[in-house]
Amino acid sequence: MNAMLNILADANWGGFWMPPQGSQVAQDTDWLFFFVYWVSVFFFLLILVLLVGFAWKYRYREGQPVLDAPKHNTALELTWTFIPTLIVIVIFYYGFKGYLKMAVPPPDSYEVDVTAHMWDYTFAYPNGQISDDTNLHIPVNTPVVFVLTSTDVLHGFYMPIFRIKKDVVPGRYNKIWVQATMEGTFDIFCTQYCGQDHSSMRRKVIVESRAKFVEWVNNLGGGKLPPAARGKYLWNTRGCSSCHSTDGSATGKAPTWKDLFMSQVQTMDGMHVADENYIHEVISHPNIHPIAGFQPIMPPTEGLINDKDISDIIAYLKTISKDYHPAALPASGPSK
């Protein structure tokens, strides 16, 4: 009960029925929701009153005479056919109108590519960079269109605060757009069952001021960092860190990166030296050399990591591997 009262007092929860309104369509959608709601309440109460009223009034009592009643009444029956028809046509019309508003993005919308996979999303921005904190960032009061596709199974893309949702379908590009009207951090839920961790496929959408958003998006990709530092940034932001540790600890899912570079790696197809070419090969073709003791579960990296990224990751690996001994620059030039 306490938890319930807390929720009712929580501004992020919204009203009894709907969450707060965070987008340009939320107000219209909620208006129609409550129109249907009050129509429903009216008819439910009407039926309840008639049912309970008749049940009480015409309950069987001993010795009660059989009342005379009509078997049908065409005028009455036509009335209760036509009135609901009119009401549902009105509901259809407003639902249709609101839907077209959601479906057609303005021509100058900012575009974010959303790629879903089991069980996460990748958010890619027009500058070719992807979000580095697993969250979706968008600017406030700006039309943003989401181009949705999946690399494996069906997923959903749903932000309750915005009242928008679309399935994310492999082999298709579905689109939906929003203009956020409120800054803050809100939920993204996957609504299409997608296997084991479906219920953990929750992310946040961060709506921020245009200035803050522009600064954030321009800093994406770690482009200003030196190679090794950028390699570490990529490890942190491209999903590598969820399976590969860099401090030697075991995750059970994949080998650690600590001391990996130039070490001897036992794979199912023989021994390999983890040199630059090996690293490039296993990142660009995941699971090509399955490693003893691990499931081949690394997801495809195509489009996610390019050659420059791999070079930076190699630079980073060099800084954490004991088998890599770069010769110090000789104190003096070679003798002639």
Binding site: W13, P19, R59, A69, W80, V88
Partner: protein, 592 residues
């Protein structure tokens, strides 16, 4: 078939279908629609018990945000989620394919349809027995998955195609064909086989209604239950083959890697949804129409009044059956079909609301100036009217495109269809069982316990599912093994409700079992109905009627009079009246 026109070999007790022949073989090889209905009842109620247990388990698991039934370390996280995903998939599949679809047609339809037609049996008795065996065969595939899950979990023994059904009952591709556990193959095969049972039952009922109606029973003098069964059977015959084809394609993709639905094999996942819902939306009417038929009978008989607006109710069943074929696209409003398709399907979806509303108002019209008996059957029927109203009205939210977008695939949808599938269909089934129990078994059920169960189930049901509307409107998606803490209060109320429902249903079961063991003998017509089943003895003799009855208006109950000495109704003899009252003598000793 043996002749039982003169059941004179027993003096004290007249012969009935239960005592007509004895022994195991006389049951498993029977062609008697009543025995087949009874065997269906045992299997279907067993499936209901299993599916209901899954529901209680998954509601229990949702008591806390992070599956408290498993240790909380990350190693058990995958196991806990897999358990939940299997529970909700099996709950859906068992309930839909093995309980809701066959419950009313296969149990009450099989038992009552030939009697209501004044016939000795259905048109094709052998086909009828075959459909029972096909049902049994299909069910064993689900038992296989269940057994496989238990063996694997407890003993690490792997049955082929026997571990885990984690696709949901909808088998959406490409997950089902590329990633799901292999129990999916057994589950899909089972559903494929169960479909044939449904088709054969439909063929049998349509033929029976066309060919076996007795003298005087024109189409518009048929009991409304038969109209509903007729409309249902049409859907079963036309829609179920589409499901069969779809499931075969699913197996071809899963086992032979033929690309049909999986985009990585060149297929289209949305195509599967079109195929699947082309069957499964009409299937919703397979589930609810027979229930509406039951309610029309129960409301009229237990309020002792002619049904109001017979033609509108009869035709609205047919309208629902036809319109039900045209609305499947509303399951794809957010799947990415064209805006034009979305708009057309939305408009067509609203057309379904009209015949549903008409029925509700006609039932209320029947109660006007009636004489209502609050029997358990009547209470369940009144519960049906209220819950169906909520289920129907919340459908308006989901039909309206702009409002559906946020609500689609959330708990709002779960609540909506449970109001229709459980609140309505289950209540109608129980109303029908309480209504016809005396006829089927010749025993009266204790009415007070029945009333108590009806009221408890009504409260428990609303406690379970009403909070889910609120939770869904706030954005909680369906099919979640874990959830954010802010939804916990709603989940907890819902879980408490689920236990109340379980207790109510156990009460119903005990109520029936005690009636079978110790119930008072039932008169031929305990409620005073005028449809033909009340003209033959309780339980009916093997051949139902010694001579083909002639019928008049099935809802004109004025010719029946209450007789206190037998606690039942007896037909007044009207000179030149029908022979329909020619039931075995013991039921009418007083009026002669």
């Amino acid at each position: 078939m043996s002749i039982a026109e003169h059941p004179s070999h027993q003096e004290s007790k007249p012969d009935n279908y239960l005592t007509h022949t004895r022994g195991f073989k006389s049951w498993v090889l029977t062609l008697d629609h009543k025995r087949i209905g009874l065997m269906y009842m045992i299997f279907v109620l067993f499936a209901f018990l299993i599916g209901g247990s899954f529901a209680v388990l998954l509601r229990t698991s949702l008591w806390t945000p992070n599956h408290w039934m498993f240790p909380s370390d990350p190693a058990h996280d995958a196991q806990a989620k897999l358990f939940y995903n299997n529970m909700f998939s099996l709950h859906g599949a068992v309930m839909v394919f093995m309980f809701i679809i066959p419950a009313i047609p296969a149990i009450l339809g099989n038992f009552m349809l030939p009697i209501m037609l004044g016939a000795k049996d259905v048109a094709f008795p052998r086909l009828n027995l075959m459909s029972l065996y096909i049902y049994f065969l299909g069910a064993t595939f689900f038992l296989w998955v269940l057994l496989g899950g238990i063996l694997r979990t407890a003993f690490n023994i792997h049955l082929p195609f026997g571990y885990g059904l984690d696709t949901g009952w909808t088998f959406y591709t490409p997950f089902s064909t590329s990633k799901a556990e292999d129990g999916m193959v057994a589950g899909v095969t089972g559903a494929f086989i169960l479909g044939f049972s449904s088709i054969l039952t439909g063929v049998n009922f349509v033929t029976s209604i066309h060919t076996l109606r007795p003298k005087g029973m024109t189409w518009f003098r048929m009991p409304l239950f038969l109209w509903a069964i007729y409309a249902t059977s049409i859907i079963q015959i036309l829609a179920t083959p589409v499901l069969a084809i779809t499931l075969l394609l699913l197996l071809a993709e899963r086992l032979l890697h033929v690309g049909i639905f999986d985009s990585s094999l060149g297929g289209d996942p949305v195509l599967f949804q079109h195929f699947f819902w082309f069957y499964s939306h009409p299937a919703v009417y397979i589930m609810i129409l027979p229930g509406m038929g039951v309610i029309s009978e129960v409301i009229s008989v237990h309020s002792r009044k002619h049904i109001f607006g017979y033609n509108f109710i009869a035709l609205s069943s047919v309208a629902l059956a036809l319109l039900g074929f045209l609305v499947w696209g509303h399951h794809l409003f957010v799947a990415g079909q064209s805006n034009l398709a979305d708009s057309i399907f939305s408009l067509l979806t609203f057309s379904v609301a009209i015949p549903s509303a008409v029925k509700v108002f006609n039932w209320l019209g029947t109660l006007y100036r009636s004489s209502i008996r609050f029997t358990p059957a009547m209470l369940f029927a009144m519960g049906f009217i209220l819950l169906f109203t909520v289920g129907g009205l919340t459908g308006l939210f989901l039909g309206a495109l702009a409002v559906d977008v946020p609500l689609h695939d959330t708990y709002f949808v779960i609540a909506h269809f449970h109001y229709v599938m459980v609140g309505s269909m289950l209540f109608a089934f129980l109303a029908g069982m309480y209504h016809w129990f005396p006829k089927m078994f010749g025993k009266m059920v204790n009415a007070n316990w029945g009333r108590a169960a009806a009221i408890m189930l009504f409260i428990g049901f609303n406690t379970t599912f009403f909070p889910q509307f609120v939770m869904g409107a706030h954005g909680s998606p369906r099919r979640w093994a874990t959830y954010p803490a802010e939804f916990q209060p709603y989940h907890q109320i819902s879980t408490v409700g689920a236990y109340m429902m379980a207790i109510s249903l156990i009460t119903v079961a005990l109520n029936w079992i005690s009636a079978l063991l110790w119930g008072k003998p039932a008169p031929a017509n305990p409620w005073g109905g005028n449809t033909l089943e009340w003209h033959c003895a309780s339980p009916p003799p093997h051949d139902n009627f010694p001579t083909p009855p002639v019928v008049d208006d099935p809802y004109n109950m004025n010719n029946w009079e209450y007789d206190k000495s037998i606690d039942g109704w007896v037909k007044r003899d009207i000179p030149g009246g029908s022979q329909a009252g020619a039931a075995p003598d013991r039921t009418r000793p007083v009026t002669h």
